[in-house]
Symmetry: C2
Subunit: 330 residues, 2 copies
DNA sequence: ACTAACAATTGAAACGTTTAAACCTAAATA
DNA sequence: TATTTAGGTTTAAACGTTTCAATTGTTAGT
């Protein structure tokens, strides 16, 4: 009834547990075929599956990688996680957790306690360098999905938010807008900080006025709720900090009778799947999800294999995708 | 350098490892305050975190629950997972994996090997009753997110697809449509089987013609690709097996100049967040995600605590949400 | 026949915890 | 004074593996 252990297999096969272990782990070059057969047969008969705890206790290593994202409700992160999952080597598995800023540090500890070998962090930590240092000291690999210069103790992969913010700005400038709103969270994460800073900087250079409208978070609902606040600024274009927000904003704008893009242009960020399908199709800044996910996975795996290599950083371009939600200022 | 063990804490504090263990696990009623302080201080100094493998090996129990969903790219599942995550008791964690039909069985084994205590399965298994039996024999709790009558060895939670399919049909019938298309996957899962069967049954009763258009999968892209095939049927309404498909279909229809809902009505399934924000806002069948996620979590936890109780089933209603993507047959 | 080499298998220690039981000391009771 | 009680702490076994060194047969070489 209780799960079968290696001992049950050994007894049934009439061999020692050492034999069972070696045969089942493919170290069985030296064992006779007869023995191997007996072991496999016994394994199948009792339905033996190695106890993961015991194995990783002995081996001193799990084969789990933790992934920490803010929310799986945002398809951007769903996509990242999905892609990492798909690219996973056979013997390793992902432990996915979600945590907003407030609980991110604590969730990292949960992951560590669960025995992960490495962590990919997309959530905003309270103090990334400190967490990175602590993890490194404990021999756990960490790669962050952000551009943080002071992060000496963690590998990083990101697409340039500085570039993305600027491209969004330049697009709006090129369309002739003179007053835009920056729609975003008030609890800035580092990525968003770069994104907004570069946007504002570019706008300042061009002499375009930017009004800021804060939101509670970066969801569609928050975007919709902000529509009125955006409209009273009398700006002619808006930069939403992500696509979710943009979609919500457009929906809200629509509800109060403001047409996008004729009366107001909206540009998003991320280029999630939905951007293309939404109507008006979203003009947005593309983050190369596929590359980000793949690099993050590669980097963390590599760091686990070789803890003391040089710090690695993979930076990708953020690209403007022009669709229907932006138009020239008439 | 290597991670600190309980022994390091004990040495530094000048006590035995038993003391450390007991104090740190709150069994320390009998220990003097002085000792407790020393232990805590030592723990903090060396940065000790209990080794999860060793702990669960000894305790004979992990605190991990596996979740198996088809894809995190579909916000329906993202939402379910997110909600389970949010409702999680403090000491337990979720191990989320994705697997389409082909690999679902194997992924269950991966989860088992990782030491989960229970599994919530939303993916389609090759042979659910067999998997359920096998898991039960090994003392692992399982709850399936589907309505499967022969599943004696697993708890289940679902919203009635039979009801949902019928409600979708009735809505279209009430609007006066005489020829509709059923847009869906050719690899039917059990849930979808009920969904389509009841839809077709209701349509047959009402004497409405239904044309079937198969898709490769249930994604937005598949929906868009099917637009032409749908249009050539000359049906006046379509039932898409989920919202993703519906969104894709509408987008595709639009691209070939067919207006929704004036020229064709489209109804989806799931009522994901996007249904409400999409334009035209999606008429769809709501699945009570919150209830489903919560019940699934409760049930699996309960089953872990008490493996030999009566089989539990939680069934919810599926509700029609009328928005803008359906209109009377003109 | 005697050793050497080899093939096949096993004994036993170790991984880091938890926990029941045992132990020690000092104070309380008889 | 002898004995119990209680408080405070430790000993040691166990959990299920993996793995190195040791052991047993066998066969080959001289």
């Amino acid at each position: 009834m209780g799960k079968a252990s290696i001992r049950d297999v050994a007894n049934l096969a009439g061999v020692s547990i050492a034999t069972v272990s070696q045969v089942l782990n493919g170290k069985g070059e030296r064992f006779s075929d007869a023995t191997k057969q007996k072991v496999f047969a016994a394994r199948d008969e009792v339905g033996y599956v190695p106890n993961a705890s015991a194995r990783s206790l002995k081996r001193g290593t799990t084969t789990m990688i933790g992934v920490l994202v803010p929310s799986l409700r945002n398809p951007y992160f769903g996509d990242i996680v999905q892609r990492m999952q798909e690219g996973l080597p056979d013997n390793v598995s992902l432990s996915i957790m979600t945590a907003e800023t407030a609980t991110a540090d604590q969730t990292v500890e949960t992951l560590v306690a669960a025995g992960v070998q490495g962590i990919v962090v997309a959530s905003q930590l309270s103090n990334p360098p400190a967490v990175a240092r602590s993890l490194k000291r404990r021999g756990i690999a960490m790669v962050v999905l952000e551009n943080h210069d002071e992060l000496e103790d963690a590998d990083a992969v990101y697409s340039s938010d500085t570039q993305g913010g600027r491209k969004a700005a330049e697009h709006l400038i090129a369309l002739g807008h003179k007053h835009v709103v920056l729609l975003g969270n008030q609890v800035y994460t580092d990525n968003l900080l770069y994104r907004t800073a570069s946007f504002k900087e570019a706008m300042a250079e061009a002499g375009v006025k930017v009004s800021e409208v804060a939101t509670r978070n970066l969801t569609k609902h928050a975007g919709r709720a902000a529509a009125m606040a955006v409209s009273v600024t009398h700006a002619t274009a808006a930069f939403a900090l992500n696509d979710e927000l943009a979609i919500g904003l457009i929906s809200g704008l629509n509800a109060i009778g403001i047409k996008v893009p004729t009366e107001m242009s909206v540009i998003g960020y991320d280029d999630t799947d939905y951007a293309e399908f939404f109507r008006p199709a979203l003009t947005t800044i593309e983050q190369p999800v596929w590359d980000i996910a793949k690099s993050a996975l590669d980097l963390v795996l590599q760091r686990i294999a070789q803890p003391d290599g040089e710090r690695q950083v993979a930076a990708f371009d953020a690209n403007l995708i022009v669709r229907e939600s932006t138009a020239p200022f008439a």
